[in-house]
Amino acid sequence: METTITLAHGAGGKQTSDLIAHVFKKHFSNPEFTADDAAVLTIQEQKLAFTTDGFIVSPWKFPGGNIGKLSICGTVNDLACMGAKPLYLSCAFVIEEGFPLDQLEEIATAMEKTALEAGIKIVAGDTKVAGKGQVDHLFITTTGVGQIMSEAHTSGANARPGDAVIVTGDIGRHGCTILLARNTYGIDAAVTSDCAPLWGAVESMFTTDNNIHVIRDATRGGVGTVLYEIAEQSNVGIRLNRPAIPVDPAVKGVCGMLGLDPMYLACEGRLVVFAPKKTASKLLEALHRNKYAQNAAIIGEVTDKMPGKVIVTTEIGTETMLPPPGGELLPRIC
């Protein structure tokens, strides 16, 4: 077998089946993952959550994870936000010709491990090979199905005045990690991605108290963007307490050098949770027992004032608005 991906691996012949056997079957094997054209799933009369997401990340490997782990976490977390236990997942690869097989296997291994941890089964897949230069190493698309717990009714439109706002850990680490991994600005810091599967954290919250109004994962655009989305969807105001927002000092340092705000850096393992205050303090205890949510904190509350806006109480006790999200993050220097 070759050591790099060739166009023949995507042509559907023997090399394609070899690739599937040696890489994907080896790592994704389970009774429901057959060679047939579609997976056959048995699901009782249940409410299902169904989601899909494409993953492009450069570099594909970064401190704290790689594109494979990311592609599982992203879909698992989307399901978890709906209160859905992750069940089945499909994945489609678009791989650049010449991509080394051992690296593909590294990615598949990360997917296997993460899926196992999250309790989701990979039951279908597809591989296409694109010519050199047509994709940046590889793209992965995952689609997931989950079973919504009967007690879960989360939606971005459900935030209510009086809710507390929880973030399940320090913010902006993934975005900061990728920024550093690209090495565009010559900055070095011991920051690892927060990329993590969060079904366990969500399950532990529902086991503690199911009076949860909103769960969102703060991916692209970061926590700031998610809060603005929820403020708008629920037509409520959000008031944050800036000193309570957990940010790793090194992330702060990097942001300080480049004039960036960690509120807008991507996370891949952080949820924003809205629940009545009494529930929230119980949820916080449960979250602190989860290995991916040990820095969870209550960062603010929902009000009926200034609907659609996010107001910040600053470190000196004044009030200001959180700047609304504004597209591409550009370092500010001069």
Partner: protein
């Protein structure tokens, strides 16, 4: 992990805070000259505690905001017609030129690299000798030494593929041009770190008052309190509220570096027009590093949108919210005037922080 100690303890209800919040004297107009001051004042919610008699005006200290349209047009010409690699601070990427901005040019294939320092632009040129590399040199006295250092190194290496498109500016004559716009200036601490205190001190003889100001909550509140206290005395005043960074002489090394590489010239400030001796261009001996000469750029006259009132905003003649296109045609995601582009721009800060906060 190394930690810089956090020394920004609660600034609220400090003596400075009390002086500001209890102020009930005559109206005072204070211009923050530096865009980073504008940004921090909004971020810290300082406007929220000001009594109505204190008016803060966001002046022309954001290089992006005062850089004329023609500069972006020149940069676009270099990128799209001369196919150079443009190295730029992120601040400039979304500034509108006459027809497009640098982000649009990048989407249509122009090679545009965002750098943290001009020294990285120089290194890129050194490592890619086949590629003509131009650094978009904007910025005031604080930023100029880094650009000069890059030129000096390129000169020493004999690089023939590195040049600057200069739009650097100096503050001295801008203070004079703006003296009627405000009662006192919050002088830009990091400019003064280079230039020292002498210049601002001497401006009191021309009736211009101000204090050199740092960027933390304590420093901003203290500077405002000093201005309010000194204004009461009725004489032009100067005060250095940032001595931990700003000394009387500033950086002699930086000053002589600037003088070695660059010389003063007249410069166009968006909204303020041409101010004599307020710009910097390369000294004749370094003219080989002037992108305008290397690529024989024609003189361009860019056109800004006629409805835009950035010029009046920069002079404190109107508030961003007084401009007809503010918040509708002109928004941070689609800026028309330069003050909406940079996060430091007065219009952008007003828009992002809700204007009334």
């Amino acid at each position: 992990m190394e930690q810089v100690p956090a020394k920004n303890e609660m600034a609220s209800h400090s003596p400075a805070w009390n002086i500001i919040t209890s102020y009930n004297g005559p109206k005072v107009r204070i211009m923050e000259v530096c865009g980073t001051h504008t940004h921090e004042i909004f971020r810290l919610g300082i406007r929220h505690i000001l009594p109505p008699a204190i008016e803060l005006i966001s002046g022309p200290g954001c290089p992006v905001c005062v850089t004329p349209v023609s500069f972006i047009d020149e940069a676009l010409l270099l990128a799209l017609e001369h196919h150079v690699t443009l190295c730029t601070f992120g601040d400039l990427v979304r500034v509108p030129g006459t027809k497009m901005n640098l982000a649009d040019a990048r989407s249509s294939g122009a090679n545009i690299r965002i750098v943290y320092t001009p020294l990285d632009a120089y290194l890129y040129a050194k490592n890619n000798p086949e590629q003509q590399t131009v650094f978009l040199s904007v910025g005031f006295e604080t930023t100029v030494p880094a650009a000069c250092l890059a030129v000096k190194k390129a000169y020493a290496d004999g690089l023939t593929n590195f040049s600057l498109l200069t739009a650097n500016k100096t503050m001295k004559n801008a203070y004079r041009a703006l003296k009627r716009s405000a009662n006192a200036f919050l002088y830009p601490g990091h400019v003064n770190a280079i230039t020292g205190t002498a210049l601002c001190e001497s401006l009191t003889q021309e009736g211009i008052s101000g204090v050199i100001t740092g960027f933390t909550a304590n420093e901003l509140l203290t500077a405002l309190a000093v201005i309010l206290t000194k204004t009461k005395e009725g004489r032009p005043f100067f005060y250095n509220c940032y001595p931990r960074v700003v000394t009387q002489d500033g950086s002699k090394t930086a000053q002589s570096l600037i003088a070695e590489i660059m010389e003063p010239c007249a410069s166009e400030w968006r909204g303020l027009g041409i101010i004599p001796q307020s710009g910097l261009k390369l000294q004749p001996i370094y003219k080989g590093f002037d992108a305008r000469l290397r690529f024989h750029l024609p003189a361009l006259t860019g056109r800004s949108d006629p409805a835009c009132r950035c010029g009046d905003v920069l002079q404190g003649k109107c508030k961003p919210t007084d401009c007809k296109i503010f918040g509708n045609r002109c928004r941070p995601e689609h800026p028309i005037g330069a003050c909406m582009v940079s996060n430091e721009g007065a219009c952008s800060a007003y828009y992002q922080y809700g204007g009334n906060l």
